[in-house]
Symmetry: C2
Subunit: 549 residues, 2 copies
Amino acid sequence: MSTESQEPALSEQSTQDDESSKSVSKKAAKKEAAKQEKLRRRQEANLAAAATSSLSLDSGDDPLSANYGDVPLLELQSKSAKDVSDWTKVGLLNESLKDQLVLLRGRAQAIRAVGKKMAFLVVRESGFTVQCLAQVQPDVVSPQMVKYATALSRESIVDVEGVVSVPSAPIKGATQQVEILVKKLYSVNKAVPTLPIIVEDAARSEIEIEKAHQAGEQLVRVNQDTRLNFRVLDLRTPANQGIFRIQSQIGNIFRQFLLSEDFVEIHTPKLIAGSSEGGSAVFRLDYKGQPACLAQSPQLHKQMSICGDFGRVFEIGPVFRAEDSYTHRHLCEFTGLDVEMEIKSHYSEVMDIVDRLFVAMFDSLNKNCQKELEAVGRQYPFEPLKYLRQTLRLTFEEGIQMLKDAGIVVDPLGDLNTESERKLGQLVLEKYSTEFYILHRYPLAVRPFYTMPCYDNPAYSNSFDVFIRGEEIISGAQRVHVPEFLEKRAEACGIDVKTISTYIDSFRYGAPPHGGFGVGLERVVMLFCGLNNIRKTSLYPRDPLRIAP
Amino acid sequence: MSTESQEPALSEQSTQDDESSKSVSKKAAKKEAAKQEKLRRRQEANLAAAATSSLSLDSGDDPLSANYGDVPLLELQSKSAKDVSDWTKVGLLNESLKDQLVLLRGRAQAIRAVGKKMAFLVVRESGFTVQCLAQVQPDVVSPQMVKYATALSRESIVDVEGVVSVPSAPIKGATQQVEILVKKLYSVNKAVPTLPIIVEDAARSEIEIEKAHQAGEQLVRVNQDTRLNFRVLDLRTPANQGIFRIQSQIGNIFRQFLLSEDFVEIHTPKLIAGSSEGGSAVFRLDYKGQPACLAQSPQLHKQMSICGDFGRVFEIGPVFRAEDSYTHRHLCEFTGLDVEMEIKSHYSEVMDIVDRLFVAMFDSLNKNCQKELEAVGRQYPFEPLKYLRQTLRLTFEEGIQMLKDAGIVVDPLGDLNTESERKLGQLVLEKYSTEFYILHRYPLAVRPFYTMPCYDNPAYSNSFDVFIRGEEIISGAQRVHVPEFLEKRAEACGIDVKTISTYIDSFRYGAPPHGGFGVGLERVVMLFCGLNNIRKTSLYPRDPLRIAP
């Protein structure tokens, strides 16, 4: 357990005080906040103590005891009269439900007692929060029930039944602008009283922490490693709820677009005999006594599927790289979006697919994932991606020239390093107002041996990279489909042809001209949302130091 | 190279002779077929010889030489005036295109010369075939061009430009009922003249082979292993084109249904520290100096994602089992369709999803994959799956009783073996007219430790299996979400709790009641299409003896 995350913080539950608080000075507000914080910490301690000794609740004497309490495990397993549709999602609570009785299931994100007769409960579901008020009321809410509420441990799963009310002032401490007047409150499953991470801490933006710091207050900052160690808690933040829903949508748009263009979804094996197609380091294993490895990409099998007459194929699946990369943009396992297709006459056909696919994707995300993008932006502020209706295509030579004109000299037949790529991204943004563009006709020498050279100049190749915000997310090319020529190219690149004979043989039974590209799903999410680390967009990231949870 | 597949066979190209052939007797037809076959073999030999020495064509003297020939590699890479839309798909050729000039790209599946002035070419694309006729015609088709056509090697990629004509008699040797009168013919890429498998052999049904056998003719039967060794050729059969398009559709329907029900698609790691959740054998490997293994299922991580507040999740991804199973239904790597969801009050909520999801899937396949299902059925005849609008649910006890009533006694608290499952499938079909049903409330003792026991009888559990045509395709259950109880269950099952502490700890921070299920994609395709081996529905299958191609 990390000590740095032991400092919880509760956002102000300000419905009741809102009108008055507007008139008090900033200094007084700060003082009040500090006081509240002290109070809260004391309550937090009491609460933790209470939760560990749940016997301290003597609800047995309470005639209203049926309205609250722990739901026994047995009851959860019985077919109750309730239907799934009886529950209302927290994210759907709004003023139109005023005065209606609703049933919610969510987590007790924050609990605050006000005296012995009132308790505020912030209930969270899928990143959306609503403030609930349990207040002593004859024949409905007993003082014991309020006590029960305040003794709940944070992150416990609760069922709340109550009436929707619309407060006159905006609610600051919750996403939904209604309040639930609690009638019944049950705990479905209890969290341990001391959590390694408080979700509100994990959900805090740097800006908030800085602002508080300047005001003399020290708020908890949960670091990346702690988050990943306790990913189950970290994933509950609104930003993470948004990130992985956006990721899900990107996969969905990718597929829907390609299916509508007559692509077939395939699933190729990840267990490969020998040592994959070479290149970066592979994970090796023993396969029933045979040497095997994990596929570094579906390159061979997607090309084979083209030779198998599927015309146009795509795959979404894990890709394994045993590289010792500790950068913000490398993982040892990530989700590859792979495409391969027949080319009728020119590799621009592949770029046409990239162009239309990604413009459709960005459009759809901006239209259908507004809530999710806002949730991400609240914690990690970013500018919406600038992109053109028709994606800019620059040749590598043109890119080099732009860099040269800006005083940056790079090898005209070498690869671009991360720094040059970033710089070129800036220049392109200034000149063409886009943060998404294609750079094509790369020098042949910097591409894999199976890349088709340009017909007019074999120093270049029918290949391309695609950039978002100055970082590469896609690599693609036309492939050499003539086996004899493929052998020549492999030899020219110093590869022992014998080791890749299976690959080359695939093209001997007639192979159509073809090309394709590969995209890293996590990179697309990271760069579309302007995030600074790929570990933020992998559900359970794997890097050279991390293989858990 | 397998010798058994060296015997090619050409189906009759009968457009020209069709009217007359109707009047000849069966015996004469057989004689004629044998003669044709002899002729064909001789041509095949000539053709192979010609293809290896392409210099034998002296088209240089031909004033019409621009109308045919090998397309040089360089030309393929240049941006031609042609657009992708200039090509017509073979599968879309029909009578409505009569007299139109079309451009096709496909494979030369079969070539037959009739004298020196005429050549028939069957061109195949994505499993669809069309007959093309190149006939000497002044100013269009030269004798050299006919010679060029007959010298093409089978499976070479060709561009055919020609006029659509509608013959008076049905065409037996092709799927499309039009004929292309060839004007231009180019070879885009040549296959080697001697193929290890002839696609027409691989596409032949057992019935055809049997019929021919009874008629005294020996047709080639390509066995499973040869097919898999030369999968690139085998995949080109109409049945395989259908199978993997159906598979693609199943994945699509699965996703679309779940997304519409508010599920989030996730991608969990396949590289796992330690040794996965136990059970069947795992593939082990070294992960940067740490012991690791390949995930046998996304069980832990999908449950963790529920603890991470995603509510409802699904995953489509590879699943690895190092089992030594050589059955018709086991693979070492397959595609798992995994679902996990919060349960509000009863595990029937999970079965409700299974029910509606699969009925929607079967409906959609029957409606949208007719051509593909027909293509599969032509080679592997099967009856359409019988299923009800609302899926039958039987308890395990009811199933046992049905078996008992039929004179089969099985352990009432044991598992069903494959034979009993099959028998029960028959009984269910007879009684309820369905080949798709759910069997639930399995004995607790035969399910994994994390399965929730039944509230009313802990000898049973909140679990289910789902069957198609008497074989299990889905296994699902409510999971134990209370960590203390999960520990007890693990201990009761003889599992060292320390080894699964990460798993159990995931539930300590508040876990909602939840359940889910896993489906094997390849099994769904196999059983929906009534196929006899799961290797037929895996693109590049992996079993204990096979890790290539």
